[in-house]
């Protein structure tokens, strides 16, 4: 197990190294500059600004400097936001994205588990079909289409919520629902398959023979075992939430990281793009690593069989 973790962490750092390098050189290849639009600078001013941001150094020097700073957790300064430190900027925006993400994840997973359980326990009934349809819709319909729909119905037409303004927790309700549809669908599908498999195993039969009631079997025996593999889908779910957050935050005007990322792309703000890219990558890679390790720790069957897949 320890060897496996060390190996995985080594790969993680290699992936991160490639991402950081690729991002850096891609940014340098970009046509246009963040300072182009920032008013008409005289040649002297331009020289001063370029000197200040270190844009005059040869590329390799810039690269080494950038990587060195990165290792110390310094993402550089933003070109657009009055020299704001990118790390501080990200951390400031993180709060909003975290609220949306965790709400969507928790609510979505719980609803998904319930739907999946109902489908498995009442297999081939109207309940099963209903929950399967919800799962298919959730997997198929992009979160931004769903988000736009929610906004149109509940904010524009019914006027229950404000359009495009962050006013505390209430503003996080609609975007969280829009983001939650993915986790709901994935969890519901997964739990249904797992539960059906678990329900037909011998120990469930034994529990039935011993006279355990349906409720006890469903929750105490079946669900607990069906839940373990659910951890494995957490990686894709996190990736989906992140992708969704880029557009959902845009639609609901949530001042989070996703919105910041899209904004910095349109304004060519190199250091913010690089910073958020690396931040997103670290976030996803670390989550997938934790999920894999956690799965090995929780389910002894995987450890014993040497982590086969």
């Amino acid at each position: 197990m320890a060897k496996y973790i060390v190996k995985r962490i080594a790969y993680m750092f290699m992936s991160l190294f490639i991402i950081a390098t690729a991002t850096f050189f891609l940014m340098k290849m970009l046509p246009g500059s963040p300072l182009q639009s920032a008013a008409k600078l005289s040649p002297e001013q331009r020289a001063v600004v370029y000197e200040k941001y270190g844009l005059n150094d040869p590329l390799p020097t810039q690269y080494v400097k950038y990587m060195g700073n990165l290792l110390q957790g310094d993402f550089g300064t933003s070109f657009q936001f009055k020299n704001a430190d990118v790390m501080t900027l990200i951390l400031k925006k993180l709060e909003y994205s975290m609220i949306l993400g965790t709400q969507a994840l928790i609510v979505g997973t719980i609803i998904g588990i319930v739907l999946g359980m109902i489908a498995a326990l009442k297999q081939n009934t109207i309940w099963d079909y209903g929950s399967t349809i919800i799962a298919i819709l959730g997997i198929s319909i992009p979160s931004f289409v769903f988000a736009v729909l929610l906004q149109y119905v509940f904010a524009v037409n019914l006027e229950w919520f404000d359009v495009g303004l962050w006013k505390g927790w209430k503003s996080s309700v609609l975007p969280s629902i829009a983001l939650a549809i993915g986790p709901v669908a994935i969890a519901a599908r997964f739990i249904r398959t797992e539960m059906i498999e678990v329900l037909s195993s011998d120990y469930i039969l034994l529990a039935k023979a011993k006279g355990a009631n349906g409720f006890e079997i469903a929750f105490k025996h079946a669900l607990r075992n069906a839940l373990i593999p659910l951890i494995t889908v957490l990686g894709p779910v996190a990736a989906g939430l992140l992708t969704g957050s880029l557009v959902v935050e845009q639609i609901f005007a949530i001042p989070g990281i996703g919105e910041q990322f899209v904004k910095s792309i349109s304004s060519n703000d190199f250091s913010v793009i690089m910073g958020t890219t690396i931040f997103f990558s670290v976030f996803l890679i670390v989550i997938i690593l934790i999920v894999d390790i956690l799965y090995g720790v929780i389910d002894p069957r995987i450890r014993l069989s040497g982590g086969d897949k």
């Binding site: 992936s15 690729a22 997997i139 198929s140 931004f144 792309i265 990558s281």
Partner: protein, 339 residues
């Protein structure tokens, strides 16, 4: 007992001889793999309905722009922001050209004195949304299909080489994949689009660049599983070359799993295209795709909801259809679930 023995008199029995030539005769017509798969997928109602819907949408994507006299790129500012109006439906009170002007609901066609019909209305530049929608669907499908084919092509070759040759080659190739798989595809796609000029080709390349990894892993696993089986060993013993073994024995066997995965790659590509266009990194006007149409429609959501509704609806239907067909194919082709 005695009654029943009486009934079976000797005359009722007939001596038969076993014809050894007939012992191996197969009574039922032999089904090829694909006939067998078709037989099973036919029972899956959701997949069949999806297939029909998909065929219809593909047909409309090509025929749709020719069904109305308006060109998808034709700008006509005097006809801007018209709601849908369909001949025949107007008497029913729906799709009759009524829309909001300011805060009042009026028939915009009468106000602007327009005799033509725009089935799905027009956008802010007066372009016909019916032909634009199908043109956009066509582009979205094109991007998704080409990206998926490239994914399959690279994935099968990479995974095939890695699995078939094994040893050190496999080691090195898999280490590369393990590093690449850690990189979030979304990030790469966005960065690629940023340095390339936005257009169909750059979107296809960006999507294909990240999509092949999953496919290559699946193909590698399959090749590893098949290459040591007896029929391959027998073929090798009989002197078949590597290329013959790959072409005749391995490829046909991994084909089904490749097709299943392709059915899931296509909706992912459609989604990515729409996603990129929605955040403004996709196709540039006047080119249309489902994503750009949704993006355009979103800007006018308060007054022109129809602009958003149609492309969003087609996008969702397409995604659902592909997912259901993929599910159906998986159930039909996966030998493990064969009954």
């Amino acid at each position: 007992m005695s009654d029943s023995t009486k009934q079976y008199t000797k005359e009722r029995f007939e001596q038969i001889t076993i014809d050894r030539d007939q012992a191996e005769v197969i009574e039922k017509p032999s089904l090829s793999f694909w006939q067998d798969a078709w037989f099973r997928i036919r029972k899956n109602k959701a997949a069949i309905v999806s297939l029909f819907i998909l065929v219809f949408i593909i047909f409309m994507a090509f025929a749709g722009p020719f069904m109305v006299e308006h060109d998808p790129d034709e700008v006509n500012v005097t006809h801007a922001n018209l709601p849908p109006k369909v001949p025949g439906f107007e008497k029913l009170g729906i799709l009759d050209g009524e829309g909001k002007l300011g805060s009042k609901v009026v028939n915009l066609y009468e106000v602007k004195k327009i005799d033509e019909y725009y089935w799905f209305g027009t956008d802010s530049l007066g372009r016909d949304l019916f032909s634009r929608l199908w043109k956009g669907t066509q582009i979205s499908l094109l991007i998704a299909f080409v990206a998926a084919v490239i994914d399959v092509f690279i994935g099968v070759i990479y995974g095939g080489i890695s699995g078939y040759y094994g040893g050190r080659v496999d080691d090195i190739m898999q280490r590369i994949v393990e590093v690449l798989i850690g990189i979030p595809s979304l990030v790469i796609v966005i960065l690629m689009i940023m340095i390339m000029e936005a257009g169909i080709i750059s979107i296809i390349l960006a999507i294909a660049l990240t999509g092949w990894i999953g496919m290559s892993r699946i193909v590698r696993g399959q090749v590893l599983q098949y290459k040591n089986q007896e029929f391959v060993l027998a073929s090798r013993t009989l002197g078949a070359s590597n290329s013959r073994i790959i072409k005749k024995h391995l490829l046909p066997n991994i084909m089904s799993i490749v097709i299943i995965n392709m059915m899931f790659t296509i909706p992912t590509a459609i989604f990515f295209e729409a996603f990129l266009s929605f955040i403004g990194m996709g196709l540039q006007s006047p080119a249309a795709s489902l994503g750009t149409l949704i993006n355009d429609g979103y800007k006018f959501i308060e007054y022109q909801p129809h602009m958003l509704f149609f492309p969003a609806f087609i996008l969702s239907i397409l995604m659902i259809a592909f997912n259901l067909i993929g599910d159906g194919l998986r159930d039909a082709l996966d030998p493990k679930m064969k009954d």
